[in-house]
Symmetry: C2
Subunit: 348 residues, 2 copies
């Protein structure tokens, strides 16, 4: 990549696209020309970036001539068609969709977890996949513990914001909430269930045989790919909650080696991309709102899970079972920030 | 208890108290005199019951003369003082607070789970404890599986409605949601965190050493007491979500004996107090709203947890690990309905 790469953002008007602009601006990412691309419907609109209006252009096969870095967040079907075109035109492509994540030739990367997966790509054009948001938020919190103690099993329950389904889903939550508060009926268009004042199983498609939905399967498959470990055991229940933009997750862990709670805290305190929020006396822990707009994954409720084996040695509890409650901004670390961090690694 | 018992409802104006009246009316519970009791602040107000206005009286030490059945839901400190007075006056007392739940002399009862715990009390005055709402919703779903296959471990993550903190908390959710939707700030009075459009660790007090909050400890201790089994392993992460009145729970189970998914479904289909809501093709499962106003605990997302040991025998997966997603109305089965069911058993 050049010193001053030219950038294309595909899906610039979406919730993640707008967040990408905010992250590039906030991180003072050096770049040359910036092309904001979207469907013909959005072409001609403007978005402000670094104080200047930028006009949205229509995405076409010719959009990537001279582009060094292409950040995609326009859905899997757009990515399937246009990521290979951008890569063939010479761009480093970071794709936020699920289209290429499980392709064995495509690196799937969280910079805090497996930056080495990018090594073979350095200096070359090609596609890099950004993982699923729930997976990113889980793996940033669990990876340091895996490095220190090993991880045999993760049982995750998610509390996922509606923003994972895009800006229209955030509008739907607000519209439904207004209707319900006014004594009216909520109309569901984006989701199959009312999202305001309700909690429901994730809206992704479900495997009729296993009973796992696509979101849950991603948490299993993508973690295994990034860790290059097919033995790690993961089960997840993915649930939508009436929250605008950050995902929370209750994580029940089984470590390979026993550890004390103090050791677990020490590891997490030094972990990149993690901020501990854990005040038992004041009952202050990660929440969706505290994570919103933050770059770090917030980790709290750090405690021994006494339902798994433990022993007392040297006056301390040594356990393999630990419970955590984490929250991360799915539009930011769960999508836009992780993509820009990948771009930064490719540039360095 | 007489054929036509006289009833006192303590805390009649609260969220659970009002629900008790609704349940008594809906179940055509035969009774004589009805005394609605509350603090002096509420005395003189009226509540409609069976089409008639009933005037709230102030709770005093003399409120229980001639009362056969006293249903308490006015908080632990009121229960500690007045439940013994009501029992001494000759009443069967069903207490919805946590004051007596772990008292070894007090039966803790979910009628679908351990009705036999009432046997020694039949025909006598005394205190019976109604379990915590999250515990009731979990145990109604898990008990049939325990009876059929044994249960070694439960890892629960809850999605708890604000109604567990009373009618004022429901007002707070509505008030905060209106403020946020109008672009203003949410003011938190009942909870320590904003509840509108947010998810936060349960507001109950926390043990500074174990890091478990009181709600989580109740799920462990009360389940063990009802099952009379100190070996069952339970861990819980209790979380508030911006929902008015039903609790959902993601339950990760380890059975003692392996079973097929078909067997698990057959057991749950026949279980008292359980309704299966599980349509993989249409992605329809238990939600907070579907459970609201329902008597049954809704059970769905019934599936093998492949992160635990399993084997394939006779073309079927035999597993000890199962995941469920359940939802129950915490004001109804989690409180008022369970109390009235206990009263019905005591009358029979």
């Amino acid at each position: 990549m050049n010193r001053q790469p030219s950038i294309a953002i595909v899906g610039a008007t979406g919730a993640v696209g707008r967040e990408m602009l905010d992250v590039l601006e906030g991180r003072k990412f050096n770049h040359g020309e910036l092309n904001l691309l979207a469907s013909s419907r959005s072409a001609g609109q403007t978005l402000r970036y670094r104080g200047e209006p930028h006009t949205i252009k229509e995405l076409t096969k010719d959009s990537f001539k001279g582009i060094d870095l292409a950040l995609f967040s326009a859905g899997g079907s757009i990515s399937k068609v246009f990521c290979p075109i951008a890569a063939a035109a010479g761009a480093v492509v970071v794709d936020n969709s699920s289209a290429f994540r499980m392709d064995p030739k495509v690196p799937l990367v969280v910079p805090e977890v497996n930056p080495e997966a990018l090594n073979a790509m350095k200096g070359k054009a090609g596609i890099i996949a950004n993982p699923n948001c729930s997976t990113i938020i889980m793996i940033v919190a669990v990876n340091p513990l895996r490095a220190a103690f090993g991880v045999k099993r993760i049982a995750a329950s998610t509390y996922q914001a509606v923003s994972g389904a895009g800006a229209a889903a955030m509008d739907e939550l607000a519209t439904q909430a207004r209707a319900v508060l006014a004594g009216g009926k909520a109309e569901a268009k984006i989701f199959h269930e009312q999202c305001a004042f309700n909690v429901f199983s994730h809206n992704s498609a479900m495997d009729p045989t296993t009973g796992r939905n696509v979101e849950e399967q991603k948490m299993v498959d993508e973690s295994r790919k990034m860790w290059n470990d097919k033995t790690v055991r993961i089960t997840a229940t993915c649930v939508r909650v009436p929250v605008m933009r950050a995902h929370a997750e209750a994580l029940n862990l089984t470590l390979a080696k026993s550890a004390t709670e103090r050791q677990v805290r020490e590891v997490l305190a030094k972990a990149p991309g993690v901020a501990i929020v854990d005040d038992r006396a004041k009952n202050l822990f990660p929440t969706s709102l505290k994570a919103s707009g933050r770059d770090e994954v917030l980790v709290g409720r750090i405690r021994v899970d006494e339902s798994q084996d433990f022993e007392i040695r040297g006056g301390e509890v040594w356990a393999t079972g630990f419970d955590l409650f984490v929250a991360g901004d799915q539009l930011r670390k769960g999508a836009a920030l992780n993509a820009v961090q990948i771009a930064e690694l490719m540039r360095d």
